[in-house]
Symmetry: C2
Subunit: 415 residues, 2 copies
């Protein structure tokens, strides 16, 4: 079967986006609920198609984590449908008046939230992203081009088809949601150059995808980048709190971007704190600097690269720092600007850390694992931005919009 | 004299930016005022250096507009100094709490405005941009790399040196403001690839610069793009208002991006409106479509390219449209997304136009010339964004910042 060329998909998305941008909340919510029903109605077919993807992955020798992310079952399909309904319940960001005023010459000025237009998403082998991303884009009035990976193509086709049936049932433009079925590696480069069609690209994936985007993208993008997150245990830290936070940040879900990858401990507390933390981290591979190894002789030496790594596994780099300044310096050097935490009882240390550490999120006496759209109150997230422009940190519905100045007058001209 | 390599300038800017980000408003305002004094103290030297640039431009046969933009005199220097003092009087965006709440688990979450870090600006032969851009970046806590053009290098050197003396007098890091003196054409490409050093690039210039940025930039950028702005005169328009607005939008300052380039007139009113508007536009070269030429036989035919052009001159493309829908379609096809105006007395037409036209600014019964930071209440502007991400429309101090999540807890962990 011939695949539709990307520019054609782009033009269809653009056209759909113009109608979708004007759709009232009720129509969008109806489409989301219809898509949820349609997804459940199609469950047998989706699971059959998913089985093909899983079989192919297993035959290719994919690891257990990859297969687990890929595999759908009745429960996971039900949560995907539930996710669509959850998004229907979130407030509509479109039309919000962000601010407004009357100018001295009588002009009435307001800034109004409007959809971006067309959002392009490149993502990994996770079929649930197909429905999650479609839901958030639809609710925020954006058409979406979903560019999943080859490994999940059969699942994604079935899921996208079901969602499109829902969109059509609710009389919204069916091309509001389109899946790119040509998943050849080269087409990623073509995708990130669809200028004029894609208003915002959100790449979700590993370092090689992000590098392709940085080098080749000519469309605007918001990067969901790596998280080399630190927990710094200050000299004044409550060790019970430190233990709870370090264990949670490292171990609760090590494969995600807001998990901790480096532990920094103030030298004044290190002789007491490190043995205790190491014991609590049983099951985690520790690598440490010289000072850490002087206290914990069993720990393997950490190299420079360890401190720059996002392990996404039960592995933690450990360093002893001589001061708060040294901790801040270490973080400035190795941080990817995602989430950085301090454990302290010292007011001044907390204040300095939150002001001086440059990251999407800085936390005091709380686990880095809270840096997530749901946990921070956004309702849902389409990714976590590690860049500074447009959106920083978890991106929800609001981050899928832009603003427009509306200026109303009575014949005013500039003099 | 050997020029400092760009990566060295970038590293100095980064280092300066960390201190500058923490500077209180009083220190930044003191630096701005000291820079204003220093600029006036150096007026003799700056005017001498400027004379060299002007002489070079004249010898190279530059047009009157270019030479006029380049030339400084006592009055222009005084306004540059006044501009620095004006920015000192604007509120400091840094530290503003954008929003905040307490989560169900007791976490205190707030989003705080912080500087971007290092801003890079590429700009044309206008020496006043050197001080204007430095002022806005300094006030918003950002270090700035100023990459002016070769034609203004002598003026820019003298201006930047004076501003740096002011910054130093106020005990802020002198490398908060740096001029890139190597203005060879190739170094623009190197500049837009200074990833890790530049947090936000603002290109200000013509289509060739913008194309270099789109093709080569690996740093995040906000584009100050072209303005192919339209004025649509609806069938219900008050012709007095229409005449005033069309004349102002086209003629008050034709060389700027918010000037009108195309006039659209509803067919029902065209036979009356066009002759009157054409008379009022005496001195403007008109090119028109068939229907326009049927009413104004003296007008030359407009080609496709005319409707896509930003003339930046006393030239206007004119088309007759059969309906509001046709006007909206024409704008969707040719607009660069800058500023679009409707003249109407019809409530529904005004509402539809403001909702359906996709641009940074949509205006009802007001001149497109109002789309400007000063006019819309931003105090000052560093450019006008025609992109949708990060900033859209005039960019003031707030658009030179990002936000950071600050999350404070009492030992909370995620379950």
């Amino acid at each position: 079967m011939a695949t539709t060329p990307l520019p054609v998909l782009g033009a269809r998305a653009k056209s759909a986006s113009r109608a979708l941008a004007l759709a009232p909340r009720a129509a969008k919510d109806a489409a989301l609920r219809a898509a949820a029903s349609s997804l459940l109605d199609a469950r047998r077919e989706i699971l059959e198609e998913n089985a093909l993807d899983v079989e192919r992955a297993a035959a290719a020798g994919a690891g257990a984590t990859v297969v687990d992310r890929l595999r759908l079952d009745e429960g996971r399909l039900a949560s995907m449908a539930g996710g669509l309904e959850d998004v229907a319940r979130l407030p509509d960001p479109v039309g919000e008046v962000v601010e407004g005023s009357v100018r001295p010459n009588g002009l009435r000025v307001r800034r109004v939230r409007v959809p971006l237009g067309v959002v392009g998403i490149v993502y990994e082998n996770r079929p649930n992203v197909t429905s999650d991303a479609a839901a958030l884009c639809l609710k925020s009035g954006n058409a979406v081009l979903l560019r999943g990976s080859a490994g999940a193509i059969d699942s994604n086709r079935a899921i996208a088809a079901a969602i499109r049936r829902g969109v059509e049932d609710a009389a919204l433009p069916v091309d509001s949601v389109q899946l790119v079925v040509d998943t050849a590696h080269e087409t990623v480069v073509e995708f990130v150059k669809l200028r004029g069609a894609i208003d915002c690209l959100i790449p979700r994936g590993g370092p090689s995808l992000l590098e392709i985007v940085r080098e080749h993208a000519t469309v605007p993008y918001v990067m969901d980048g790596d998280g080399n997150c630190h927990v710094y245990v200050d000299s004044s830290a409550d060790l019970d709190v430190a233990e709870r936070i370090v264990v949670n940040a490292k171990m609760q879900r090590p494969s995600v971007c807001n998990a901790a990858e480096t532990l920094l401990v103030h030298e004044a507390i290190a002789p007491v704190a490190l043995p205790r933390l190491a014991a609590a981290l049983a099951g985690v591979e520790l690598v440490g600097d010289e000072a850490t190894r002087a206290i914990l002789p069993g720990v393997a030496p950490a190299c420079e690269e360890d401190f720059a790594s996002e392990f996404l596994a039960l592995k933690l780099a450990v360093a002893v720092v001589s001061s708060l300044d040294a901790a801040i310096e270490h973080i400035a050097r190795y941080s990817t600007g995602h989430s950085e935490a301090i454990v302290t009882r010292d007011y001044a240390a907390a204040t300095r850390f939150t002001r001086e550490v440059d990251a999407a999120a800085v936390l005091v006496n709380a686990s880095t694992r809270f840096v997530d759209g749901g946990e921070l109150g956004l309702g849902a997230e389409i990714g976590i931005s590690t860049q500074k422009l447009h959106a920083r940190g978890p991106m929800g519905l609001r981050e899928l919009t832009t603003v427009k100045y509306v200026v109303e007058g009575d014949g005013q001209v500039r003099t």
